[in-house]
């Protein structure tokens, strides 16, 4: 995000129209009076704390922040935020938030959704929100399972998953949410993990600053129905091999002391992992989140092994500038007034041909 900064909302392009808070805020200001009802140990608690802890630094008037959610465990999120909020219906949050954000540019609009909500029943709305680039921040809590309906496989579950609805193993190939988002023309795509508060907060910061739709996939542990799904990324020893932390402008290296790196195969253009040596060191890919072409970001999104999660990139995979839908919608209204003058009801009614009946 070379062109933007997170030092105060007034300077964040995505939030220039959102009024600032009059006084300094704290995490407490964003906690509602409602008792949080997720299962003890659920990853959602960590995400809620990270969001509540991060919002004060944006310094926005909290009455101008809205959280919109669908249905599912994660979608209870708005009830716990002391902002405006809507807990809507299954899968439709991106559509509802699109109407809100495109009619109210003075709001900071956030969508909270899950893998079933966003990628199964609401898949259509998600991809269209991404291609339109409405000024929305979508937090996709991915736990690779249906929690609220008690444990059926989800569109991100691994093939062969044994659940109540798939006693002999699930048959359908999962979505890769990052690949999907990049394919849907998303202008901002990132991945983070519920348990890594620091990384999660940094990604939220960058998403908030992004003008347009930001999709943040958050790997989130469901300790009841899919416990340990992301253990490979969380266990200190395993994580060294499994997690690839992306930093814009930095070589993509991971493993003990950065001993491994990502290189491009000159023949196929595909990406692969190598042990870094003196000879190949210069070939290690430098991450460019702002690359105009989505090709490399897409290839990065395919690096992870879907079963072991080894070589899972986290961080901002893609962040590019595209026209923002609600800005353009507002611009068209202004242009219409410039071209035709402010609407005059009498002139509208009369249209072209009229006749007069005298009494």
């Amino acid at each position: 995000m070379a062109e933007t900064t997170t030092e105060g909302a007034g300077t964040i392009e995505a939030l220039t129209l959102v009024p600032r808070a009059e006084a300094a805020q704290s995490m407490k200001d964003f906690k509602s009076d409602q008792e949080v009802r997720w299962c003890p140990g659920c990853g959602d608690y960590a995400i809620l704390a990270a969001v509540q802890g991060f919002l004060p630094e944006l310094g926005l008037a909290k009455e101008n922040i809205v959280f919109v959610s669908g249905i599912g465990c994660s979608s209870r999120f708005p009830y716990y935020m002391n902002t405006y909020g809507m807990h809507s219906i299954h899968g439709r949050a991106p559509a509802i938030a699109t109407g809100l954000a495109s009619s109210r540019r003075d709001l900071s609009v956030w969508v909270v959704t899950g893998d079933g909500d966003a990628l199964s029943i609401g898949g259509n709305h998600l991809i269209h929100a991404l291609r339109r680039n409405v000024n929305l921040k979508i937090l996709l809590f991915n736990n690779r399972i249906y929690g609220l309906t008690k444990g059926q496989y989800s569109p991100t579950s691994e093939v062969g998953k044994i659940t109540k609805s798939t006693p002999m193993g699930s048959l359908d190939a999962p979505f890769n949410p990052i690949s999907l988002a990049i394919g849907a023309e998303a202008s901002f795509v990132a991945r983070t993990v519920d348990s890594d508060r620091k990384h999660l907060t940094e990604i939220l910061r960058q998403a908030a600053a992004h003008p347009g739709t930001a999709l943040v996939e958050i790997y989130q542990n469901c300790n009841i129905f899919n416990d340990g799904a992301f253990e490979a990324l969380k266990d200190k020893q395993q994580a060294e091999e499994a997690v690839i932390r992306l930093e814009h402008g930095q070589q993509i290296r991971f493993g003990a002391d950065g001993s491994k790196g990502v290189v491009r195969d000159p023949d196929t253009g595909d990406l692969g992992v190598v042990a870094v040596t003196e000879e190949n060191q210069a070939r290690i890919l430098v991450h460019d989140a702002h690359a105009a072409s989505p090709t490399t970001a897409f290839a990065l999104s395919r690096l992870a092994d879907p079963d072991t999660l080894h070589h899972t990139p986290i961080g901002v995979l893609r962040s590019v500038r595209r026209p923002v839908y609600d800005t353009q919608m507002a611009d068209q209204l202004d242009t219409a007034v410039e071209q035709n003058g402010k609407g005059d009801l009498s002139a509208l009614f009369a249209g072209g041909d009229t006749w007069t009946v005298v009494g």
């Binding site: 405006y84 954000a101 009498s346 509208l348 009614f349």
Partner: protein, 643 residues
């Protein structure tokens, strides 16, 4: 006959576009009080445009009029086939009329298919103008004519005018640099010119229209104007058309005022724009294209300078979702659709019921079930609008009765939605949507004030004395909850589809609370202030009441007039408000021995009034995709009176 057509070059040189043409006075002119014309041709023949232009000419002349466009769902069905026939019927008069007319006095048939598809509706004695060029063996056998109907005597009793429309048009355009195919395309304008001569229509508007429609293709504009004039001159000069007709302006039919012609969908669009102005709220339309509702999306998209936002969504669900999001943000929010789209929007309508936000759901009904008859009319979504949601989810329902009434109905829907914080259904239909009639243009200062007050601060005091905002604390009179829009400090709150505790709006699964909330939402809708139902019973001695709703108003009223002219006593009432019903409806129904309910469905309103008022209402129904004919209704009502 071709020799009688004057050279188009002369016309193009000597007359100015937009000049009024007048008959030279060499032929008989007869005054008649009304006429019904039907233009029929292939869906590619431009019959809708021809009808629209004739309508505009007629409107600007000051006749009362009513139109019925009728076209296939396919954009270009196979040429020359019965399913590909498109027609446009126009009824105009020197007095107040109510319907597009039962039976045409004049049929213009551009090909054998058009003749075959329409002849059954045309009574003997009527004029039939046929384009003889299209009556080839092949074209006739395609639609099952073994011999030419123009020659086998099957049209005996009709006044048939065989006109080689295509040849004459091509001949008239020979000086233009056009291919034969291109020249042939103007034959609808030739026909329009001929009919314009026959009925003394003003012509300058059509010439101006053609000049502006084809402004970027001056050659095509000039060719169409030349064809239009050639048709007019043909009527003036050929001996086959010995008489032309005058239908005087309908001066006494209309109260004083400024009028224009308007279709239902345009009137509805204007009503929405006006409601937004009168409510001082920005208009937000979330919609997905669907016949016959798309014209509202098109029309509203042209008026961005009124602050109108139109969002063409990825599907029906997103269309209403975006509208609901905008309603949460304080817009006057609308979604437009037809029956299949309503089915998809049902869950979101339920959410709007639960969140108690204002939202207009405009259903331009068409033939169903499923995809049904996309371009034909029907009234079969009434029970879907009433009950098509999970749980107890009452929604107010109102219906316009004529194309112009769509304007007032849109304003009324906005009033109910804004005052009572509820989604509101508007049930228009394909007949109202594309049909048109004169509309007295309202003065802006006559329009109702629809302004609302957003919540500004706390509305409740807790026992400890602290002031709080309760999103579900209701207005004691309307039972409406406060509308607190994001951006209002101190009123941050969360709403959703889960049952809410009365007052606080917090999630509540408490059994008694749910029972209370279900009953309260129902009571809010039941107690909506709607005007009493007016009954038209001039003698006060009728024992039969005909009760209608929606677009059947024209045909029912026309049938009632016929019966009264014939000395019958019958009372008429027409419902705009279908949920809640006018509070005097039960009393009205109780006053009559017999109640007849004509509907373009299988008796949906009849079911509702039978259930609610225990009256033995009789249904008279028709579901053929077309509006009722007045004659047929009059017969049915007569049977009821006598029965």
């Amino acid at each position: 006959m071709t020799s009688q057509v004057s050279s188009p070059a002369e016309q193009a040189d000597e007359t100015v576009v937009g000049e009024q043409r007048k008959p030279a006075g060499a032929k008989d002119v007869r005054r008649i009080d009304r006429v019904i014309i039907r233009f029929a041709g292939d869906s590619g023949d431009g019959m809708q445009l021809t009808g629209d232009r004739f309508t505009s000419e007629t409107a600007s002349f000051g006749n009362d009029l009513s139109t019925l466009p009728n076209f296939p769902a396919e954009i270009r069905a196979p040429a020359g086939t019965l399913p590909g026939v498109s027609s446009f019927q126009l009824h105009f008069a020197d007095h107040d009329i109510l319907t597009p007319g039962d039976a045409p006095n004049v049929l213009v048939a551009m090909n054998p298919a058009a003749l075959k598809a329409n002849i059954a509706d045309v009574p003997r004695g009527a004029d039939i103008i046929v384009n003889t060029d299209e009556f080839t063996k092949r074209a006739m056998s395609k639609v099952g004519y073994p011999a030419s109907p123009l020659e086998d005597g099957s049209l005996d009793g009709y006044s048939v005018h065989p006109v080689p429309l295509t040849t004459l048009t091509v001949e008239a355009l020979k000086s233009f640099d056009l291919s034969r195919k291109e020249a042939e395309r103007s034959k609808n304008m030739f026909a329009l010119g001929l009919l314009s001569w026959m009925y003394h229509r003003p012509t300058e508007g059509t010439e101006r229209f053609l000049a502006s429609k084809f402004a970027k293709k001056p050659e095509i504009a000039a060719a169409n104007i030349a064809a239009f004039r050639a048709g007019w001159n043909f009527g003036e000069t050929t001996e086959d058309f010995a008489v032309s007709y005058e239908v005087a302006p309908a001066v006494s039919a209309f109260p004083p005022g400024v009028y224009r012609n308007i279709s239902g969908n345009v009137a509805l669009s204007y009503g929405l724009v006006a409601a937004s102005r009168q409510a001082d709220l920005p208009l937000y339309l979330g919609s997905y294209p669907i016949t016959p509702a798309s014209d509202i999306l098109h029309e509203l998209s042209r008026h961005k300078n009124f602050g109108v936002r139109t969002f063409q969504a990825e599907d029906e669900i997103a269309g209403i979702g975006a509208a609901l999001g905008a309603a949460f943000g304080g817009s006057l929010a609308v979604t437009t659709t037809s029956g299949p789209g309503v089915a998809l929007k049902s869950e979101t309508i339920g959410l709007a019921v639960s969140m108690e936000l204002p939202l207009l759901v405009i259903d331009i009904q068409r033939g169903g079930p499923s995809t049904g008859l996309p371009t034909k009319t029907e009234q079969a979504d009434l029970l879907q609008a009433m009950f098509g949601r999970n749980g107890e989810a009452p929604v107010p329902v109102i219906a316009p009765s004529t194309p112009a009434d769509c304007f007032d109905t849109a304003m009324e829907a906005a009033r109910i939605a804004l005052v009572y914080r509820t989604p509101v259904f508007v049930l228009s239909d394909g007949y109202l949507a594309s049909g048109s009639e004169p509309w007295r243009i309202p003065e802006v200062d006559e329009l109702p004030d629809l302004r609302v007050q957003f919540a500004q601060g706390p509305n409740h005091t807790l026992e400890d004395g602290s002031e709080v905002f309760w999103p579900y604390k209701r207005d004691p009179r309307t039972l409406a909850r406060p509308w607190a829009v994001p951006g209002t400090p101190g009123l941050e709150h969360r709403i959703g589809g889960i049952e809410k505790q009365d007052g606080t709006g917090n999630i509540s699964y408490d059994p008694a609370n749910h029972d209370f909330m279900v009953r309260t939402r129902q009571a809010k809708i039941d107690n909506i202030d709607v005007p009493d139902l007016a009954v038209d019973d001039p003698t006060g001695s009728a024992d039969t009441l005909v009760l209608g709703w929606g677009s059947t108003y024209g045909p029912i009223t026309a049938a009632v007039r016929r019966l009264r002219t014939a000395g019958e006593h019958i009372a008429q009432a027409h419902l705009r408000h279908l949920n809640p019903f006018p509070h005097n409806l039960g009393a009205v129904l109780g006053r009559y021995e017999k109640v007849v309910v004509p509907e373009m469905n299988l008796g949906q309103l009849a079911t509702l009034v039978r259930a609610k008022y225990l009256v033995d209402a009789r249904s008279f129904t028709q579901v053929n995709g077309m509006p009722f004919k007045a004659e047929q209704l009059a017969t049915a009502l007569k049977e009821a009176i006598d029965g």
